[in-house]
């Protein structure tokens, strides 16, 4: 009851004309920034910090503006994933897998609206989780030592095979490539630079955004250039159909269990510092696929494959605020930026934040609720507008994609070196596409590989080189068990699943499987 009255106070702080205006502005700008490849939530928030300071905003309004941008960008990231197969930011990567196929089947409107709703569900329940559970959740974060983190990241890798069904060896190759890329940079555990070739720009490692934009956006441009003007290519392309905008209630209901499950998963991933939204959306997708994908429709435009990562990553965004507010430890890049804003506003996040600055915390949480409803209200009607992007002919769209990629990447660090790295990744992405190697595991390898490695080495160093610490706690054993089951099970039951898949494929078109799938088979 205490919490609820504090929350009511928070609403009275947040519900002023100025604050609502700021939330609206933040949501709008955030959505756009999220949708532009290269500009993710962390850059979006960082770009607007000077605005917040120049406007002379107090702590609460400034935070309302910036967290609206944060949530907005988490919503926006999905738009370019679905429409162009180019993730707007890291967590939106998983949405490409089913979102883009849906768009190709003429269901872009549905995919966008459904992912908007999934984002809302994820963020809404995560915010409630933040309200009700923040103090208890801190204890969960404290259960995770280096050994537990290592097991968690291994678990993520063990389920990697699930995301691209076609050729496991190629996904494994892609993941290994990503792991290799993650090695670049100064090794924190010894201070020694690895694979930097004396180039100072590489000391901090490869920026994930540079890699993503290169691999996804630029390689798309290269593919287009390659086929420029060839008539049969144009003819071979399926005609773009916009299709209906609003998903049916049946479809929403059909995806609801998926959304609720992945919200919980994503939220937990968000709460763990160092795991974050990318892991949230990834684990949500791959575990959901393992759980419900009986017919092998994931990856071919299954609406649940759109709902899962979106609910997961937005829930993780809410979850990441728990360690930031309660421990002063950022759970993601964006919360690191928000943390800095808090410090600049003379607010020290940490165990005492809830007692020392209740107005700020509860005002912020109330603003999250308000922003979330605004985003839903803003995103659903705008779906009709977004899908028009598909009508833009590639000869106009592709130069724009190239331009936005270059501008966005240069904007991150103001370094032309990053542009060259991006072009390098573009060429690599083009080659990998030719070889039919999936791109998502490359990024996941880079993103998760780093954390996996440092946590392994931390754990082993702490235990004086004795590897037994890796199975030294009940939690690690549970995580290992899930990882092993996730890895081994598909190998044994793979034959059965494949047989069923063939049957399912023969029975109906995968695209229309959605509505039928509601009945147990």
């Amino acid at each position: 009851m205490d919490t609820l009255s504090s929350l009511a106070d928070g609403f009275s702080v947040a519900l002023t004309f100025q604050n609502i205006g700021l939330a609206l502005l933040g949501c709008f700008l955030g959505t756009i920034m999220g949708a532009l490849p290269g500009l993710g939530p962390s850059n979006g928030v960082a770009i607007l910090i000077p605005l917040a300071f120049t406007l002379g905003l107090g702590p609460t309004p400034a935070l309302i503006l910036l967290t609206s941008v944060y949530y907005g960008a988490m919503y926006g990231g999905r738009i370019s994933s679905i429409l162009l197969n180019i993730p707007g930011d890291e967590p939106a990567m998983m949405t490409c897998l089913d979102g883009y196929p849906m768009a190709q089947q003429g269901r872009a409107g549905e995919a966008l609206a459904l992912s908007g709703i999934a984002s809302f569900v994820g963020a809404f329940f995560a915010t409630w989780g933040l309200v009700l559970l923040a103090p208890q959740l801190v204890k969960v974060a404290l259960l995770f030592g280096p050994a537990e983190y290592f097991a968690l990241f291994t678990l993520a890798f063990a389920t990697l095979g699930g995301i691209s069904a076609s050729n496991q060896a190629k996904s494994a190759f892609a993941a290994a490539l990503g792991l290799g890329l993650a090695m670049i940079g100064v090794d924190t555990q010894t201070g020694v630079p690895r694979f930097t070739f004396g180039e100072v720009h590489l000391y901090d490692g490869i920026d994930f955004l540079v890699a993503i934009v290169g691999l996804f956006a630029l390689s798309e441009v290269f593919i287009f250039l390659e086929h420029r003007g060839s008539a049969e290519e144009e003819a071979a392309k399926p005609k773009v159909v916009i299709g209906k905008i609003a998903p049916s209630w049946g479809l929403i209901r059909y995806c609801t269990p998926t959304m609720l499950r992945t919200t919980v998963l994503g939220f937990i991933a968000g709460v763990l510092p160092g795991a974050g939204a990318s892991l949230g959306s990834f684990i949500s997708y791959s575990l959901e696929k393992k759980l419900v994908d009986k017919k092998g429709t994931f990856g071919t435009g299954d609406p649940r494959g759109v709902a899962a990562p979106e609910a997961g990553n937005n829930a993780a965004a809410g979850g990441a605020l728990v360690p930031m507010l309660a421990l002063g430890v950022p759970g993601s890049g964006t919360t690191a930026v928000l943390l800095a804003v808090l410090l600049a506003l003379n607010i020290t996040p940490g165990p005492l934040l809830f007692t020392q600055n209740p107005d700020v915390v509860w005002g912020l949480i109330a603003a999250l609720f308000i922003g979330n409803f605004m985003l839903l209200a803003m995103n659903i009607p705008m779906v009709g507008l977004f899908v028009r992007v598909l009508m833009v002919p590639p000869r106009i769209l592709m130069p724009i994609v190239a331009m936005i990629s270059f501008v966005g990447i240069y904007g991150i660090s103001g370094s032309s070196f990053d542009l060259m790295v991006m072009v390098g990744f573009g060429i690599m992405g083009w080659a990998l596409r030719k070889l039919d190697v999936p791109l998502v595991p490359v990024i996941l390898g880079t993103l998760l590989g780093n954390e996996m490695e440092v946590n392994l080495r931390r754990a082993v160093t702490i235990n004086d080189g004795d590897y037994s610490i890796l199975v030294g706690s009940p939690l690690t054993l549970i995580l290992w068990a899930i990882a092993i089951v996730g890895f081994v099970l598909p190998i044994f039951v793979g034959g059965i699943v494949r047989a069923r898949m063939r049957k399912a494929a023969a029975k109906d078109e995968t695209a229309t499987a959605a509505t039928e799938g509601a009945n147990p088979d």
Binding site: V186, Y203, P273, G274, A344, T348, L352, G411, G414, S415
Partner: protein, 330 residues
């Protein structure tokens, strides 16, 4: 950020031309001031730029808003190289620096660059190092901790927010050395992505001790979750930190300050250098800056111009010696 950066570069060219015209007539007056934070938004350098930029404007020391440019990479090396190679005679530019800058310069981690290629302006405060343990730890003083490490180095894992060889690591080694631990390499240091993550692991029980800056530990000290064994300051700090014992009073003469300050391009004109030294000096002496220091857990470090340059040189030399000893430098 490109959007912001483009007009800025154009503007700088104009500003540079204007500044030259003005300085011919009178003392230097910067037009379009710029501060490079050599890291992504959110870190200490970013904070230094933004806070100083804001305060300089509030105090009327500069006319317009200071533009903060984040030029991350190579732990500050990218920005250092950029300033040396491309912006060497900019008069409107200052760059945030800290102990980490000195550490990397000492360890040759900015390939081909040395501290003499730029001019050191002034410090704006120091964040003293602390060594802390969890509240329920049986260890209560710094000598106890160091004694334990001496007896069995593998029994104590110390975590901090910098890489191996970084400043958080070196601080512990300085203390260990002063306590007579001959092989400082045996001290078990675990690197984390930030001080906050290291404190979390201390609370989770993975680590036995934490080394970091006072500002990183403050929130957890206030809440009573961690116990500060020693603050590595020459004397006790003022205000709310007065209860914390120094290492020195426990017989371990170790001082470790993470200073924050600025450098400027090496080819900056004499007048411009004077202007910036004066401006940051005036800022440092103001009441407003004192308030900023207090809320951010910064302790005094009043050094400008030549004095500051000598201080940086001193710390680079000390870190070079220590790094050789622990084998990071050959």
């Amino acid at each position: 950020m490109k959007i912001a950066a483009l007009p800025l570069i154009g503007g700088l060219a104009i500003a540079g031309a204007l500044a030259m015209a003005v300085s011919a007539a009178s003392a230097f007056e910067p037009e379009r001031t710029e501060c490079i934070a050599p890291a992504n938004p959110g870190g200490g350098w970013d904070f230094t730029c933004r806070q100083v930029g804001k305060s300089l404007q509030d105090l009327g020391l500069i006319k317009s808003t200071m533009q903060v440019v984040n030029l991350s990479g190579g732990g500050g090396g990218v920005a250092f190289a950029e300033v040396v190679n491309k912006r060497n005679d900019a008069n409107d530019l200052i760059i945030a620096a800290s102990s980490a800058t000195a550490t990397r310069l000492a360890q040759n981690a900015y390939p081909g660059n040395t501290m003499d290629q730029v001019r050191w302006l002034a410090a704006v405060g120091a964040d003293y190092g602390v060594i802390a343990v969890a509240k329920d730890s049986e260890i209560n003083t710094l000598p106890e901790l160091l004694e334990k490490i001496k007896d069995d180095p593998s029994s104590v894992s110390i975590g901090g927010g910098s890489a191996v060889g970084g400043w958080d690591h070196l601080k512990v080694l300085i203390a260990a050395q002063k306590a007579g631990i001959s092989d400082v390499r045996s001290v078990k240091y675990i690197a984390f992505a930030g001080g906050g993550e290291a404190v979390t692991q201390l609370l989770a029980g993975s680590l036995q001790a934490f080394t970091g800056d006072l500002s990183e530990a403050k929130g957890f000290v206030d809440s009573g979750d961690i116990k500060v064994l020693a603050v590595l300051a020459p004397e006790r700090l003022e205000g709310e930190f007065a209860d914390m014992p120094t290492a020195k009073e426990q017989g371990i003469d170790a001082i470790g300050a993470n200073w924050r300050g600025f450098y400027a391009p090496g080819g900056m004109s004499g007048e411009a250098y004077e202007f910036w030294v004066d401006a940051i000096g005036t800022l440092y002496a103001s009441d407003e800056w004192k308030a900023v220091m207090e809320t951010n857990g910064l302790a005094p470090l009043d050094l400008q111009g030549a004095e500051f340059e000598a201080f940086v040189r001193d710390s680079v030399d000390n870190i070079t010696a220590l790094s050789k000893e622990i084998g990071i430098l050959q």
